[in-house]
Structure formats: structure tokens, C-alpha cells
């Protein structure tokens, strides 16, 4: 690999590297800031200026955060919804997208239209609430999983990928005696790993970050998800009227910045760790899935 670069090329390389370094610093700094704040004492945490490292390193904020009521429930439920939700969603979406990708399926266009329709129009909050309630999903952990089993966008991406698998492959499998289910699981799924990984990642990230369903449909505090806890801690600045009720002489209490930062780190790190392992599929999957169809 001995390529000789002209002066212009070299200049361009330097400029590009410089630009990208600045760009990644801009992206990385918020993380560094949060880590530094979460590891610092409350007094140092609110000082102005850059926070690159803690001035007085302490794990107190994390200790406090793990003492916080409900963080274990939050973790369990979030992991549950992420793992089970992603697996089930992949299963259901594959089973739906595959037949719809086959040209010989009757009425596939009207059916597809019905599905795409839901991407643009939804029932709205109150009808959805009533529906969830009458289905008996209210205050059940399944409310995290069942209503969001099929994401229309991911569904379309999956279907578009399946379309690119030639019918001839299927026909030869049939000659060998495979039925449709067998074809799906022994042929189509192994061929579609990149797109499945991509959709899995999307779904997992969605589940990890989701909080609104937990807010609306869950009463039992043992069933809440991590993001709700995070929200409760971080969204503290409410409007005046609420603040006023809060600011009573004897009950003044401010959640320290350090603890907010610690909970933020606790809830972000796990999904951050998963990311690099799925990344290689990620890029491939999007490119393959989105262009055709």
C-alpha cells in the first residue's frame, strides 16, 4: 500500500481528518460531560465551564441512584420489553412481510395499502387508551410489547428485502420437498440476516427508549420502565404553579445534578454497549433494504 499523494490530496486528507475530529469531539463531549458530572461531588457538578474529568471523584451519585426506589424494577422491565419485544416483533414481522413479498399472493396490494395506511394515521391517544383497556392490557407488562409488535416502517423495509430473494430459489427448494414454513426458516431467514439485524437493532433501541406507553398504561410501580424513572428525576422544572406548591419551607428538595447524570449514564450505557456489535450489519442492512422495491 504505497500510494503517493499529491500535495492537494494530502491537504484534503488533513482537512478531512481535522474536520471529522472536531465533529466527533462535538458528539463525544456531552457524554464525557455527563460521565464527569456523575462522578463528581454536587458542589463541583454545577460549576461553569468544561467538565472533562471529575475534580473530586466519588461514586456517591451512583450509590444514591441504585438506592432509588424502583431502579431494579425499572431495569428488569426494560430488559424484558427489549428482549421479548424484539424477538416477538421480528417473528411476527417476518411472518407478515415474507408472504407480502411474494408476487403470487392474491390481493397483496390492497393488503399492503391497509398496512401502510397505519403509518400515516393512528387512532390517537384516547381511543388507543380505551382499546388497550378493553383488551385487558391495561397495567400489564404486555402492553409494552403487543401494541408495538409491528412497526410499519420496519415492516416495509423487511418486505422490500424479501422481494430481492429470487423466486427460483424457492422453486428449487420446493422441488426438494420443502413447504412454505421450511422455506421461510431455512432459506429466507438465513439469507436476510443483515436486514433482520438492522430491524432488531431499531426495535431494541425503540424498546429501550420508550416511556410514553409506560406513563399512560401502567399504574403498578413494579411494572414501570427505566425511562420513566429517568424522566421523573430529570424533568424537574415544571411550571410556576407547580413549583410554588413545591417550594415550601420545610420540604425544599432538589435532586442533585450528579444523580441525574448518574441515572442518565445507567440507562444509556447498556444500549450503547450493544451498538458496536450490531453496527456491521446495520449499514449493510439499510443500504440493501431501502433502495429497491
Amino acid at each position: 500500500m504505497h500510494s503517493i499523494m499529491t500535495r492537494g490530496e494530502r491537504l484534503f486528507q488533513i482537512a478531512a481528518i481535522g474536520f471529522l475530529t472536531v465533529l466527533s469531539a462535538v458528539m463525544l463531549y456531552p457524554f464525557v460531560h455527563m460521565i464527569a458530572v456523575s462522578l463528581d461531588t454536587p458542589v463541583h457538578a454545577i460549576r461553569p465551564g468544561l467538565h472533562l474529568y471529575p475534580l473530586e471523584p466519588t461514586l456517591e451519585a451512583y450509590r444514591q441512584a441504585f438506592r432509588y426506589d424502583g431502579i431494579y424494577y425499572g431495569f428488569t422491565n426494560t430488559i424484558f420489553r427489549t428482549v421479548v419485544g424484539t424477538l416477538l416483533a421480528l417473528c411476527i414481522m417476518t411472518m407478515g412481510a415474507y408472504p407480502l413479498s411474494r408476487k403470487y399472493l392474491p390481493h397483496r396490494y390492497p393488503l399492503m395499502m391497509v398496512i401502510v395506511f397505519t403509518m400515516f394515521f393512528s387512532g390517537g391517544l384516547i381511543p388507543s387508551y380505551l382499546l388497550v383497556k378493553s383488551l385487558g392490557l391495561y397495567d400489564s407488562v404486555w402492553v409494552y410489547i403487543i401494541p408495538s409488535l409491528v412497526n410499519t416502517f420496519s415492516f416495509i423495509i423487511l418486505r422490500n428485502f424479501f422481494i430481492t430473494i429470487p423466486v427460483e430459489l424457492e422453486e428449487s427448494a420446493k422441488l426438494d420437498g420443502a413447504n412454505d414454513i421450511r422455506i421461510l426458516y431455512s432459506l429466507v431467514v438465513p439469507l436476510s440476516k443483515p436486514i433482520l439485524a438492522t430491524v432488531a437493532l431499531w426495535t431494541a433501541v425503540y424498546h429501550w427508549n420508550a416511556w410514553f406507553d409506560g406513563l399512560i398504561y401502567i399504574q403498578d410501580q413494579k411494572k414501570i420502565v427505566l425511562q420513566i424513572l429517568l424522566r421523573r428525576l430529570v424533568v424537574e422544572n415544571l411550571d410556576q404553579e407547580l413549583q410554588m406548591a413545591m417550594q415550601q419551607a420545610n420540604t425544599q428538595y432538589v435532586v442533585p445534578e450528579t444523580m441525574k447524570a448518574a441515572v442518565l449514564m445507567i440507562s444509556t450505557l447498556p444500549i450503547l454497549i450493544v451498538y458496536p456489535f450490531l453496527q456491521k450489519y446495520f449499514v449493510k442492512g439499510i443500504i440493501v433494504g431501502s433502495l429497491k422495491g
Binding site: D69, M95, L105, L130, V150, T152, I216, Q219, A249, V255
Partner: protein, 533 residues
Amino acid sequence: MKKQASRLAMLALALTLLFGLLAACSGGANEPESGADGANGTDTESAGGAAEEPMDITWLSFNPPTTDDTPVQQYLEEKYNIRITNIRIDRASWNDQLNPKLAAQEIPDVFFMWSDRDINNYARQGLLREIPLDSIREAMPQYAADVDDIDPMLWSSGQVDGKNYALPQYFFSGSLPFVPAYNGKWLKAIGRDEAPKTLEEFEDVIRQFTTEDPDGNGRDDTYGISSNFKDGSTNAFNEVFAAFGIQPFMWIENEAGELEYGLVTEQARQAFKKLHAWMEAGWIDPEYITSDTAKHRNDFVNGKYGVFSNMYYVANPVNGAVGKPFTEKDPANEIVMGPVLQNIDGSPGAGYSWGVKNNFIGLGIGVDDAKAAKLLEIFNDLYSDEETYLKTVYGFEGESYDMVDGVPQLYPEYTDPVQRGAQLGAGSYYGLFGSKAIGMAKYDSTKEDIAFRDKYTEGQPAISNKVTFNLPSGVDYPDLSKIQVEYFVKLVSGEVNTGSGFDDFVALWKRSGGEVLTEEANEIYASLKAQAN
């Protein structure tokens, strides 16, 4: 072969569609059934449960308990032979969570409401039961007498179309004025040993805070004043407006006894003239517009600016939201609190105050007469029975607090009101009148806190919003508050001048609904005043 294939495929597809439907499209057909569910269940049970069967009560307030068997809930259930169903709602998304429940006819029996806007909405939607004033006076004599005593106008905020729908809570510290708090080290650095008393002195102080490097770091990085305009625009620069006898976002009574909106008065013009001059001179932190309460507080602690004006306890060095971190940061730090600035006409200045108006307790429409009587009985104990008050607000002696000098001192793990509510049920959830009952005030503050309060606020007049009632036309002018905030900023920055620019603004304000609201406010105010006398 093809046929079979497509049949299988169709099956798989049908399954998917089913799930897809669950996810997205809503089934409106199910609504009536589900709606009837909640309401009927409680009705039938409560009707039959007069003698022994515990009465079912759904309860809504803030800082809820995590479980349904907290000690405080058990205490109340045993004492009153009731069964409480807790409704848990996050304070940060109150309406998002409450509205679907109300639409599904899940209406709480004990219905905590933040403001009179809510009462107005819910009463008109038929979600609230009327609570006649006479029944309150009869069942809760102490409470009624206290409200009469503190401010009889409070009753008016719970009323819609002449009917009473709620018990107004009052916040008795709300009648105390905001007092200016100065960075004491800086005052020393500029050669002063006490807080300014007049606007001229104040002007000198903020000039010196900006230009004379009070923190001695050799850099020009300090300002005189700032504000938490982003989430607290209503009290921005309140210490300055106090010297002009008004507050911009309050309705005030003028000499003729009529109500005027502070922002459009002549006094406001004078105040903006000053503020603009200070802005030009660079004595006001230009970031005041985008600072929220947290940043505003941190900036003071970090020595970015040197004066703020808020409730006395915020500056308390032992437990104040600013005072504590400020003194923790550097033990040499000291906050010097001064009097409310003298009015420019020479009379004593009246400081900004929240007013005593607070939140409200209503009863859901599903509450029958027997249940209403029971609930008022409970409310009465929550308000005026010492044992009930202490248990519901602070928990149990020896378990969550110790009595020190006659005042409950909470264990450290329970000082956070959210945690106390979550684990014990103690606090604002069941203790609806926690720190909102004057007879119980002796339990709510330590002697030191009371001494601190009296030292800085005693004898200082306060000004509060005269419109404590609902202005029905308010909903017709949703843009008015935007205009107000926009012009506040422009007048301070000088983008709109305080001469003809201010006149144009007043005209615009009147056109945009201000005139109608002024008339309405005066009309209602006059009638309420006549009623109260």
C-alpha cells in the same frame, strides 16, 4: 401447489394483520363497554356499603405511594372503614396521563386539581360533584373559618357559575414578599456593609458588581442581575418593579380602585426605561432570557451575577435551594438579604408575592351523598386533627421522624417528599393539607426557620395578583401571553423604545384582548367584593 402455498401465506398474513390492527388502528366499537366499567363498579359497591362494608374511594393527588399497602393508607383505611384505590400520575405529565382516564370515565373520587382553570374545565364537562359552601362550613368549621380569615376571595376560585366545586387550599407563606438577596462577599468588595434600600443605591450596587470586579479574579465576567425568564418570566426583575409599585404580570389595583394589568401601566414604562438603560450599560446578564430556574440558581452560586429576589427560604444557608450550595461551595460565602426596595415615591416598597391561592381538592361526579359526607369528615381530620395531620404528612414517630423541640424532624431517607410518598404514603398524597393548614404550621417549620423568616420578612408589605378568579374570556386570547413576554424582552433590550414604542405596545395589547379582559376582571372583581362584604 401454488394454491397451498398461497393459503399458508394468507394464514401467516392474517395473523400479522391482526397484530397490526392491535398496534395501530383503534377499535372504536369497544368504547361504551370499557367506559362503563370503572364508574359502575364503584357506584354499586358504595351504595350498599353503608353499615360495615368498607367504602370504596379512588384517590388522586401528587407524590403517590408505590404500593397499595403503605402504613399511611392502612391507617386511613382502618380509621375510616374505607378501601382506597390509588391513582398514580406523574407530576411532569399530569394532563397527558389524566385526560385518557377521564375520557374513559375513570373519575377519581378525591380529585386533586392544580388550578382554577382545571376546575372550570372539569366542572363544565360534568366531571365534578358540587360541594355546597354550607356543607363545607358545617363539616369543616375550622378550615372554613381559616379561609374566611386569610382571604375570603379564595372561595371564588373554586366556583363556576355560582356553584362551588372545590375546596381551595391556601399557601400561607404565599403572602410574604420576595426579598432581594445579595452576594455578601461582593458587597464587601465594593465597600458596602449593608444591602441597598433605595433604587439609586441598588443601581450603584449592580453597576459596581459589573464594573468593579467584585470577585477579584481580574476579569470582567460578572453582572449585576439576571433572571430565570425561561420558566419564571412572571417574576423576572421583580425587585426592580417593586420599586415602581407594580409587577408586570399581575393585575393590580390602582388608586381609583380599578384593576389594571401591571405590564401596561405608566409605572411599567418607567421601570422598563431603567431596565433598558442597565441592559445597555451591560449590568444585566444578557442570558437572562434563556436561563431557567436551575441555571439561574447555579449562576448565582457560581458568582456570575450578584442579586436575586425570591422567597426568603431560598437564601437560607442551612437548607435553602441557593443558600445551601452557596455556602457549601465556599464557607466564606454569605448572603446578605435586604429590604424590598423603597418605592420611588418614597413610600415603603411592596415585594412580589405568590399570593395565598394554591391548589384545589374536588370530588368526582361519581361521589354520592354518603361518600361526600365521609370524605369531608376525612378532610376535616386531615386539616385540623393533629394526630391525623402528623401521620399523613410526616409518617410515624420513631419510624420516619423524631420529635425535636415539638417539630417533626424527618429521617434523611424521607426528606425527599417523593420518596416519603412512595415508601410510606406520607406527604402530599394523603396529607392533602400538608403545610397548608395554619393551625398545623407549628409542625412544619423549625424555630430557627421561623426566626429566619421573621428576621427578613416581618413588616414588609407585599403585592400579589388581584385576579385570583377565572377570567372566562381568557381562552379566547391564547396569543396574549405570547405578546406580553415578547414585548417584555423587546422593551428591556431597546428593540421597542419606552416612548412611542410603549404606547404602540399598549394599543396592541388592548386590541389583542387586553381591553376585554380588563373589563371582565373589573366586573367580576367588583361583584366578588360586594359579595364578600
